[in-house]
């Protein structure tokens, strides 16, 4: 099946868009040999991440099966997850 996004490990809570996605799109997210669908709530460009399930403020952001940062606001499923709502636990490059 054609995939619109990829979840690198089954336990990840953010997927990466493999093409530009628009609100209202139903994104097919590849997870290893399987797929799941996520209804997009925001525009997410190629290479950018979005939440595959609701993420609470302060929750860990998981990619590659590891913690890549922490949510600084609630991130609903299908919403863009990036520097505006995630902070590094190791220092950030943009400030």
């Amino acid at each position: 099946m054609k995939r619109d996004a990829i979840l690198l490990r089954p336990e990840d809570n953010v997927a990466t868009a493999l093409r530009d996605l628009l609100p209202g799109n139903v994104a097919v997210v590849g997870i290893m040999e399987d797929c799941r669908e996520v209804a997009m709530t925001q525009a997410v460009n190629y290479g950018h991440k979005f939440a595959v399930a609701d993420i609470a403020n302060g929750e860990d952001i998981i990619k590659y099966g590891e913690v890549i940062g922490r949510a600084t606001a609630a991130i609903p499923a299908g919403a863009h997850a990036h520097v505006h709502n995630i902070e590094s636990l190791r220092g950030r490059g943009d400030r």
């Binding site: 619109d4 590849g30 991440k49 590891e66 890549i68 520097v83 590094s88 490059g93």
Partner: protein, 386 residues
């Protein structure tokens, strides 16, 4: 999971069978390169080191040359020296001979100039090539692989397709009993705490953290903070959010196996499984370190397309970028762009990389070998030239 390889008398397995013409000092490079150009199946290793260096670096250069000579892809070795260099040439020759392979030497000053050294060296190299040409390939297994990992000219696709897919091939290699070496310590920065957790015990984890601290301290001694400013503005525009994420994208190529040991630059692993080796990210020094550590195949993922190969270890180029696969096709061996396009899963791509590794180990040429783009080589030294 078998391949036909050259089993050497010390038990190591070559995926290639060359006469290595190793220059022992920068001043002997031209003679070594000329000798190798005259004899089929002879390859030169040249570099910028071997004299006017701190004692620590002189020792390091000798140790790396010895490791290169012991690499199983070399069936025999010709050492080319000037005569007055700092490199411990006699010791290097002895250490290579200990593997059971034949080692010959030419010294330019003793022979009376480059012309005579080229003539004498070419005769010796031809004789060695005839001798090793009789060595047969015999059945070997994935347990005989010593796989080096590298990424370069990365882009958005690197952390999504080629690196995680290579990680799966790494896991398959480790599960088969092979050895995999992860280098590029600079790439660990930001995720070193995660990598340390993947070590088999806290002591090994501590060594990983020490490697990163050492590399950062060296850069800082020249006034450069290599951790600051990461991820870059361009990274953030491309979708990378944190330094942890960026580094995890690079080290994804090491897969999920526990890290068994941590080694110095060019040091040969004494255990099987996944290991870490101190090394910088730049291609000539990284590839040389991997070769000195005994790698018989190297996998190199790239986004924009990196051309570098090594004289006697095949370097397999893997991209996830569809455009690079087409535009840089003289350099790319394998495309996993299907993971990005959506036509292939990561495990399928990982399996395909593993199959390619075994085929290349059995003699299938890489693009870099076919085009002769195989001269990315130099020894990583720490101190000043004096």
């Amino acid at each position: 999971m078998e391949f036909m390889g050259y089993r050497r008398s010390d038990g190591s397995v070559g995926t290639r069978n060359y006469v290595g013409v190793l220059s022992t000092v920068v001043c002997a490079n031209e003679v070594a390169a000329t000798i190798a150009s005259k004899v089929k199946d002879a390859v030169a290793f040249t570099h910028q080191q071997g004299c006017c260096q701190t004692p620590m670096d002189v020792e390091r250069v000798s140790r790396v040359l010895s490791g290169l000579g012991r690499n199983p892809n070399l069936g025999a070795v010709l050492l080319v020296s000037l005569g007055c260099e700092s490199t411990a040439v006699a010791q290097v020759a002895e250490e290579i001979r200990a593997t059971g392979k034949r080692v010959e030497q030419v010294a330019i000053q003793a022979l009376g100039g480059a012309f005579r050294a080229v003539a004498e060296g070419s005769l010796l190299a031809q004789e060695l090539a005839m001798e090793i040409g009789a060595f047969p390939r015999t059945p070997c297994t994935a347990a005989d692989l010593v796989l080096g990992l590298k990424c370069g000219s990365s882009d958005t696709t690197s952390g999504l397709a080629p690196n995680p897919a290579l990680g799966m091939a790494t896991d398959l290699t480790v599960e088969s009993g092979g050895t995999v070496i992860l280098g590029e310590v600079t790439e660990f920065i930001g995720a070193e705490h995660i990598l340390a957790r993947h070590a088999k015990d806290p002591e090994t984890g501590r060594k990983i953290l020490d490697l990163v601290e050492r590399m950062e301290a060296r850069a800082m001694s020249t006034g450069c903070d290599i951790r600051g400013g990461q991820p870059t503005g361009g990274n953030i525009k491309g979708g990378l959010t944190t330094i942890e994420e960026k580094s995890l994208g690079a080290i994804a190529k090491a897969g999920t196996a526990p890290i068994q040991a941590v080694y110095e630059y060019g040091e040969q692993p004494r255990v099987k499984g996944l290991v870490v080796m101190d090394s910088p990210g730049r291609e000539p020094e990284l590839l040389t370190g991997m070769a000195a550590a005994g790698c018989n195949v190297i996998c190199f993922t790239t986004g924009l397309g990196a051309p570098q190969g090594f004289p006697f270890v095949p370097v397999i180029k893997i991209t996830g970028n569809e455009r690079t696969q087409v535009r840089m096709r003289d350099h790319i061996d394998l495309s996993v762009a299907g993971v990005i396009e959506g036509s292939e899963s990561l495990p399928q791509a990982g399996q395909r990389i593993f199959s390619e590794i075994l085929q290349v180990a059995a003699g299938k040429p890489t693009k870099a070998e076919l085009s002769g783009y195989t001269k990315a080589m130099d020894i990583y030294v720490l101190g000043p030239v004096i």
